[in-house]
């Protein structure tokens, strides 16, 4: 059969899966939901006397945790991509998937940073 010489599909088991490739934006989605819902819940359940500072501090911590998770993902995918280049690995599939994963992780990290920035500009629980 024509083309049978290119068999070797299992050669790149180092490719990340689909979920790993989009993991960066899953972290962003989690950050967005946690900040939005955390703000809503915090402003209802935290006593009003300690409200703005406590809620803001808690949200900043949650934001930082997500940033750290996003940075770890980007660091790891960037490392895998560098490794593939360093080894001269020319397997298109693995390189593409790690490059895509790295770009997605890095973009998502930037998005998580920008999404949380209003925490530094606006007081929590202000109508």
């Amino acid at each position: 059969m024509k083309g049978s010489g290119m068999r070797g599909w299992n050669a790149s088991s180092s490719s990340p899966g689909v979920w790993r490739a989009i993991a960066g934006f899953i972290v962003w989605a989690s950050a967005f939901v946690v900040l939005y819902a955390g703000h809503a819940l915090g402003c209802v359940y935290v006593p009003s006397s300690i409200q703005p500072a406590t809620v803001t501090a808690a949200l900043v911590v949650l934001w930082a945790v997500h940033m750290a998770a996003g940075a770890a993902l980007a660091w790891r995918s960037g490392g895998r991509l560098r490794l593939l280049r360093h080894d001269g690995d020319c397997r298109v599939r693995a390189r593409f998937m790690w490059r895509a994963a790295f770009l997605i992780d890095a973009s998502a990290l930037g998005a998580t940073f920008v999404t949380g920035l209003p925490l530094l500009a606006f007081p929590a629980c202000h109508p």
């Binding site: 599909w9 689909v18 934006f25 593409f96 770009l103 202000h126």
Partner: protein
């Protein structure tokens, strides 16, 4: 190398298996080419209806104090214009393109679930017809395409108008969800051998993300529609403020769908653009991985924007700022795609053919719409222009620029593929200039009328408002645009009869759909090609001959059934051979039964609705029974020296992916319901309710134990050897849990007393419906073991256990929610 079989005999044998019946029996066809065409034709008809409605709106607004339409009729017309264009034209048209093109681009002979695709089309048609008939009878919805409460509620819209929208649109949304499930399973599992994700065409990436967005974006609106219909029909007060409801809940649920919807429309169109531009630039797309990143980023970020439609409703400042940030962020991945397209054109050698003209129009108009999009992402500006004609102008620049121009380009680009004839460059370019000039004349002045303060949705305005000239210009532009669309349609009709015959691959494209005769044969590929690059026809110009002469995969002659390949998700390694069903009336029967259910709801015939639902379930069970293997599926000689199992015997079959996708949509509906509970609990006035739902400890215990048991049966490693025990255990657990849920429903009392009780009733109904389905699946599984025990595969169990596992897990979560909500502030 495979010996080429007798070529003519191979094509004849394939055509015998794959061709659709002729004449009226053709309505039983399920093939993706037929379905794609049906979706496109129906969507085009709805587009014409929506266009006529737009002209009526512009005729009314051309002058101040126009007496052409009265207030009620005008409200019906603008509501139907938005509804038809968003729900019945844009998404179905793009799904039609995807249905038609994707298998051909991916190297498959059909979509993953041909019957589901046909059912989706019937649901779409029937849902659309409900709205059309309502409009013809003067009963069209009149509360705007967003159906804000309380205007759409029973108090202010007592007639059937809002019900027609809620039921017709929900019916049509089932179609979109079925289509999304079908597309995801096809893209992930039914590509040509060697087509890894790295080599997958960009259009498939766009459609993969879009289909995922449909799964997550549509359920909030389906839930909102169910809640509003329950309020209208039974007085359950989800949106009634004095009884613990809140109108803002509707706005949240609507815009959780409504904003991603814009990207659900734009992304497939952008996918078409990303396919056409490399062809006319004669250069591969620049920044392939960046474009994929941009598409994924848009898919996610678009779910963080919905509140920018609600900046003026009084949401706390910090929350607004989160949404404003996300609204501005989404411009970045959009710009990445734009720069990739421009860089591709810059790097290549551009041929200015007819579709390229429309692509130029798209690039200009969508950039303008995108820029005003960034403006309305800013809270202070948004507050100023909220509900003015500025927003109308922005929305049309985005949607017509972002979807209609690419669709027109795509129509001209793939027209030779559909009909085997070339379009007329002269008529096509005339149509373009009419549409382009008319569009800008219509909507550019609308920015100014908006900035001058003209509100949306008004049917008259004062003479001294200063809006007359601008409105007259907009109306003139609208009619010029309509002439352009008329010429475009004329070109389509004329080319089918008088167009010059198209030569093979007339645009010299690199994607796989052009590696077949035009119009395409019923089976797409005589043999399924092996792929070595992103542009197979540029990489291997002789690929077409190898395919046609049966030198590639699945070229056995005569083929035993309708067959195509299933591959590994990442690598594109062939894993199994899928046996696909042929023409059948079953999707039509299921569509009719579903229509009976919805129509009975519309006319408050609840006994008939229950009967319709029961018949639908029964038909689906027959459908599954027909398709399940009756004997051990044999291995298939897929190519010399390689035999592959049938799809039932392989793990991760399209069926498994289909169920996983359906459950993802289901989980989103559940998440929206939980959001509704929390939102009303935290923000709605007039809480707490008159009494909390207090399940007796023994009843809660039994329910929890039964749900845990159901989850355990799903987690037990599915194996055919112990199938009967697992199925029986699952059936018992589901039956016990269902009985417990029925007892809990009795404790709710009168759910019309307060939104909390109404929500608890909906939570229990959600659990009950899932448990009922789990019970039916388990009983079905037991019947399968009794009748065809030797044919039962582990994969069947794995698919069923996805449902039972989800039912157990979600049930436990909802029980916890129910218990936690008691006594909350």
């Amino acid at each position: 190398m495979r010996e080429a079989p007798d070529n003519a005999a191979l094509h004849r044998a394939l055509d015998e298996h794959w061709r659709s019946p002729q004449g009226w029996r053709g309505w039983s066809a399920v093939n993706h080419t037929a379905m794609g065409r049906r979706f496109m034709v129906a969507a085009l008809c709805f587009f014409l209806v929506g266009g006529v409605l737009a002209m009526l709106i512009r005729a009314q607004l051309a002058t101040s104090h126009s007496g052409f339409l009265d207030s009620e009729l005008y409200s019906q017309i603008f509501t139907m214009h938005g509804t038809v264009m968003m729900f019945l034209f844009a998404i179905p048209m793009l799904e039609g393109f995807a249905f038609y093109l994707l298998p051909k681009m991916l190297g498959a002979r059909d979509l993953a679930f041909p019957r589901l695709g046909a059912y989706a089309w019937w649901c779409y048609l029937f849902g659309g017809l409900i709205l059309m008939v309502g409009m013809a009878l003067g009963l069209a919805p009149s509360s705007g395409w967003f159906m804000y409460t309380p205007l759409s509620g029973r108090q202010y819209t007592p007639g059937i108008n809002s019900d027609i929208w809620l039921i017709g649109i929900t019916f049509a949304e089932i179609s979109a969800l079925c289509g999304a499930v079908e597309l995801i399973a096809t893209i992930l599992k039914m590509r040509a051998p060697g087509m890894s994700l790295a080599r997958m065409p960009l259009f498939a990436w766009y459609m993969l993300v879009t289909a995922g967005m449909i799964l997550v974006g549509f359920p909030p609106l389906i839930l909102g529609s169910i809640l509003l219909e329950l309020e209208r029909a039974f007085g359950l007060p989800f949106f009634t403020v004095e009884l613990g409801g809140d109108n803002l809940l509707w706005q949240h649920l609507f815009w959780m769908f409504g904003h991603p919807e814009v990207y659900i429309i734009f992304l497939p169109a952008a996918g078409l653009v990303s396919t056409m531009i490399p062809t006319f630039a004669r250069h591969p797309i620049v920044g392939h991985a960046w474009v994929v990143n941009g598409v994924v980023a848009m898919g996610f970020l678009s779910f963080g924007l919905w509140v920018h439609h609600m900046f003026t409703v009084g949401i706390p400042q910090l929350s607004l700022a989160f949404f404003s940030a996300a609204s501005m962020l989404v411009a970045v991945p959009t710009a990445i795609q734009f720069f990739a397209w421009i860089a591709t054109l810059w790097s290549g050698s551009v041929r200015l053919r007819l579709p390229m003209l429309y692509l130029g129009g798209f690039l200009v108009i969508f950039v303008l719409g995108g820029l005003t999009g960034v403006m309305v992402a800013l809270i202070p500006f948004n507050v100023q222009v909220h509900d003015t004609h500025f927003i109308v102008a922005h929305m049309h620049y985005v949607l017509i620029g972002g979807a209609v121009f690419p669709l027109m380009a795509a129509t001209y680009y793939w027209m030779p593929h559909l009909s085997g004839r070339m379009p007329s460059a002269r008529l096509g370019s005339t149509a373009f200039w009419f549409v382009f000039a008319g569009f800008n004349l219509t909507f550019l002045p609308m920015h100014l009328t908006g900035l001058l303060g003209m509100p949306r949705r008004i049917f008259v305005y004062a003479e001294d408002s200063g809006w007359d000239t601008l409105n007259l210009l907009s109306s003139l532009g609208g009619f010029i645009q309509a002439i352009g669309f008329g010429i475009f349609l004329l070109d389509i009709v004329l080319h089918a009869r008088k167009g010059d015959p198209a030569r093979h691959n007339p645009w010299s494209a690199g994607t796989l759909e052009w590696a077949m005769p035009m119009p395409p044969p019923s089976y797409n590929f005589a043999s399924i090609p092996e792929i070595r690059g992103r542009y197979p026809l540029w990489d291997e110009p002789e690929l077409n001959d190898d395919i046609e002469e049966g030198r590639m995969w699945l070229a056995a002659c005569p083929p035993p059934t309708r067959q195509t390949l299933s591959v590994d998700v990442i690598t594109g390694e062939p894993r199994s051979v899928i046996h696909l069903p042929g023409p059948t009336w079953m999707p039509l029967y299921c569509g009719i039964a579903t229509a009976v259910f919805f129509l009975a709801l519309l006319f408050k015939g609840y006994a008939v609705a229950l009967a319709g639902a029961a018949v639908t379930v029964l038909l689906f069970a027959c459908w599954a029974w027909q398709l399940a293997p009756k004997g051990r599926p044999p291995r298939v000689d897929a190519s010399p020296g390689i035999d592959l199992p049938g799809h039932w015997a392989a793990r991760g079959s399209p069926g498994w992916w289909g169920m996983a996708c359906a459950l993802a949509a289901d989980a989103t509906l559940l998440a929206s319901l939980i959001f509704g509970c929390l939102f009303l609990n935290l923000y709605a006035p007039n809480w707490p309710p008159p009494h909390w739902l207090e399940p007796a400890p023994w009843l809660a215990g039994i329910l929890a134990a039964a749900l845990a048991g159901l989850l355990a049966t799903a987690l037990a490693r599915p194996a055919a050897s112990r199938a009967i025990g697992l199925e029986a255990a699952a059936a018992v657990c589901a039956a016990v849990a269902l009985a417990a849920v029925v007892l809990l429903v009795r404790q709710v009392g009168s759910p019309s007393q307060h939104a909390y009780l109404a929500l608890m009733l909906v939570v229990l109904i959600y659990m009950g419906v899932h448990l009922g389905a789990a019970l039916i699946m388990s009983l079905y599984g037991l019947c399968r073991r009794v009748r065809h025990s030797h044919a039962v595969c582990d994969e069947e169990l794995r698919i069923a256990s996805l449902w039972t596992g989800y039912t157990g897990l979600s049930g436990l979560g909802l029980l916890a929610l129910m218990l936690l909500m008691r006594g909350s502030p």
